[in-house]
């Protein structure tokens, strides 16, 4: 069962799953080991989904698309913003979450679970991993973002 770090700011509670790695923008990568050690499942963080608001539409690049780390993986339109989401790893998309098309709201409901975006067959996991941060480090990034938003009010 996934464990989470948690923090509360104002009326909002944000969770960070401890079993995966993160980009600073809030995209996570979960290695699918032991079954598929070269594959990672990717999705967005609880913080990013709460900050962005209800998802109206989500378009993930198609299966078979080759990506470099940092390339656009998906476009997301929410009630507040249009976002480009970038791949945390390089490789080839081998699976896209089909449930997102009829029900993009699952990204809001279960960002670390059923609301995943895609599975990527990585080409350079160790190299990409070095550019990602772990859960405590992402928590610090997130707290800093929250503090900026509170200060801006």
């Amino acid at each position: 069962m996934t464990e989470y770090l948690e923090t509360t700011a104002d009326k909002f509670t944000f969770r960070v799953a401890v079993d995966r790695f993160y980009t600073q923008e809030g995209v996570w990568a979960l290695r699918l080991q032991p079954e598929f050690p070269s594959r990672v499942r990717v999705g967005i963080t609880d913080f990013l989904q709460q900050r962005s608001g209800d998802v109206a539409f989500l378009s993930v690049k198609a299966t078979g698309t080759r990506l470099q780390a940092g390339d656009e993986l998906a476009e997301m339109e929410t009630v507040k913003v249009n976002l480009s989401l970038h791949s945390p790893v390089g490789g080839t998309i081998v699976e896209v979450n089909k449930a997102l098309e009829p029900s993009p709201e699952i990204v809001n409901q279960a960002p670390y679970g059923e609301g995943w975006l895609a599975v990527i067959e990585t080409t350079s996991w160790e190299q990409d991993r070095a550019r990602l941060v772990d859960a405590p480090a992402y928590m610090a990034v997130m707290k800093s973002e929250v503090a900026k938003e509170v200060e801006a009010r």
Binding site: G53, D54, A56, F57, V79, K80, P104, E105, N108
Partner: protein, 144 residues
Amino acid sequence: MTGEGTEVVVIPCSGIGKPYGTVARESAYDLCDDLRPGATRLVALAKLVLGEQEARERVRSCPVVTIDGCKLMCASRLVTHSGGQVTHEVAVLDVYRRHKELKPEGIEVLNDEGRKLARVLAEEVAVAVDEIRRSGAPSGAGHA
């Protein structure tokens, strides 16, 4: 509580600051002022927030349609909190997902797409209102 003479209470989102709340209200005005005047009565959500007696009695005694702007579903929740029952609830986002070309923008004044989305929503709710008045519940009652 139903029949051709039944008045259906319509309660839209009262949220300000986002286009989806504005779409909810504009669609309620279209519905109550233009599409189904006489069959519907618009009740401001703020009256339920304040606990106004007349508004509370209305939602307790009439079928109620709520039009919410976001997932907080304030209109639906306040009807229940006030002792009423929601006969039919609609979320603007769900209707927008079916009409991607109608992206609402603007808060005080909606763009053309937002106005059209409000109209589409109002027309859908008008059908639900007719069914409520005819049979007591719209087919597929619940989330639109």
